[in-house]
Subunit: 320 residues, 2 copies
């Protein structure tokens, strides 16, 4: 992988603009024909920050330098940009789904010198009447596969965590948990947040995190009750205000892992849990998974551009 | 029970000012020696709305008319007024606890012509390391007992729902669920709220409520996942925006009831569930409980002044 400094020397071989365009963030990579990262950039223009009708202008501004040097470079994006709230809706592809299903169902937006291809998201109708959706995570999972993680369980922690099962290179089922969002709204708006430091200091407290995770793994099936335990632990001096966010985080992740075990998404008979996402958050998940007896390793950091490169190749946008 | 119009005719027999002083509301009753309600009033001066050091003034203003007519009337209050954030802290009494335990541990605040006695709350250290607390609900439960509901399960739905077990007239154990608060923060601050009507219209949709309750009863142990199902049901046109609040409410209550059954708080071997609280909310809970095969009836509406009257009598504040 090559950093931005080397753009000029490597520029003769650029083959693809790869973009991860999510709800609150926008990241881009300039890739060589073999998938090597030549340059990268990040912006705050997530789809919620783009005004109505402003996607074309936002895209042009974000990629201006790359397109100036490479006028004919193909561009592929994944993420919420393909949702109903994005530039244009790329309808969900139903699971089980693999590379060919995704690469064959991309949509194209933009005009003239700034055309962008968008990867569709995935949907999964579970046997228990739940529908699940993802946009962007499918690309990361396929990117991680090329790095050697072929089959098994892929866990993508975050605002809406994803637990995906991959068999023979296809995503066959997945589940979503609102863990990250629930933490955020409870921290900001509930009685639990009011017992935490008002200055937003969020230093990690490993002991409190462990205690919360243990509670979640043991009792996370009664989450509505256990949440109140965060408050009473504080009331009785068993949890310091500055440790409360770590306890709450552990409790929620523990509850998520417990439910995954119970539903057979993780645990006995499920091989090779691979974590994808923010490095610190993946460490926290790996720790709770280990407490539950589930071994997990973190995927390479650049699975997103890798996945986009693979999909672009499968879609014939760059030479194989 | 007599309404405010009758204050003058009944005034010769007033014996107690009874007050329920909670986080966001303040209610008061003028009671006759036999506990009959002679007058009642409500205010918005919950403890969070009273400025530092302002409890004495707030109490004087709220009770001014009654005290002008009855200068020597004793006054008893229950609720968060006895918490660390209230007028003065009335330390929790540990369960199992009955009338005598509560009436013997009241504290007295205020001076001269405006003295107020405050009922302590209850705490319960569960065998599974959870601590639970209540302030105000204990008084309602004791009030409901006099109306005939001696023993069994008492459920008090609300921001922080309480499930209390009463044996031989004593509260022996209880659990708290953050059901109401979780509904409120998800409605106001989460992606689930953003799919609901922005105008706050909250008409009850019985079919959506039932579907949510069924999901909660069946799958509420994986609440973090099921919450995301509210969003995807909307995405796929299976849940109208205006019906989503009812579905979410049913899901959360269903999850609460499921956990209570699983923990043995309700269901087989537990007799006589009595609901106490807001009439509409109690109806909703009764409906979900019935779906789970648990019969429940609602307590009399005036259990709070009834409980305060009983406690005042036990404390010797009024003649027995």
């Amino acid at each position: 992988m090559t950093a931005g400094d080397n753009t000029r020397t490597a520029s003769a071989s650029a083959a693809l603009i790869a973009i991860d365009w999510g709800t609150s963030a926008l990241r881009g990579w300039l890739l060589a024909p073999d998938g090597t990262v030549l340059d990268r950039r990040a912006g705050a223009q997530g789809i919620m920050a783009v005004p109505d009708g402003g996607f074309d202008a936002a895209y042009r501004a974000f990629t201006a330098e790359w397109r100036a040097q490479w006028p004919a470079l193909p561009a592929l994006a994944a993420g919420m940009i393909g949702s109903r709230q994005g530039w244009a809706e790329a309808p969900y592809v139903a699971c089980p789904a693999g590379f060919a299903d995704l690469s064959g169902r991309c949509i194209v937006v933009g005009v003239r010198d700034a055309v962008l291809t968008i990867v569709p998201g995935l949907s999964w109708q579970a046997p228990d009447a739940m529908i699940d959706v993802m946009r962007g995570e499918e690309t990361q999972i396929f990117g991680a596969q090329q790095a050697g993680e072929k089959d098994g369980l892929f866990i993508l922690p975050g605002t809406h965590s994803k637990w995906a099962r991959v068999e023979a290179g296809r995503i066959v089922a997945f589940a979503t948990c609102m863990t990250g969002e629930l933490f955020a709204v409870l921290r900001a708006h509930s009685i639990l947040g009011r017992m935490m430091p008002a200055d937003g200091s969020m230093g990690h407290d490993p002991a409190a995190f462990d205690a919360g995770a243990r509670d979640g793994l043991d009792n996370g099936h009664e989450l509505l009750r256990r949440l109140f335990g965060v408050r009473t632990r504080g009331l009785f001096g068993r949890l310091a205000p500055q440790a409360a966010p770590s306890f709450l985080s552990g409790l929620l992740i523990g509850s998520e892992v417990r439910a995954a075990r119970e539903a057979g998404r993780a645990g006995e008979g499920v091989s090779g849990a691979t974590l994808i996402g923010d490095a610190v958050l993946c460490q926290r998940y790996a720790h709770v998974l280990a407490m539950a007896g589930i071994a997990a390793r973190s995927a390479d950091a650049d699975v997103t551009p890798r996945g986009l490169w693979l999909l672009a190749r499968a879609a014939g946008m760059i030479g194989a």
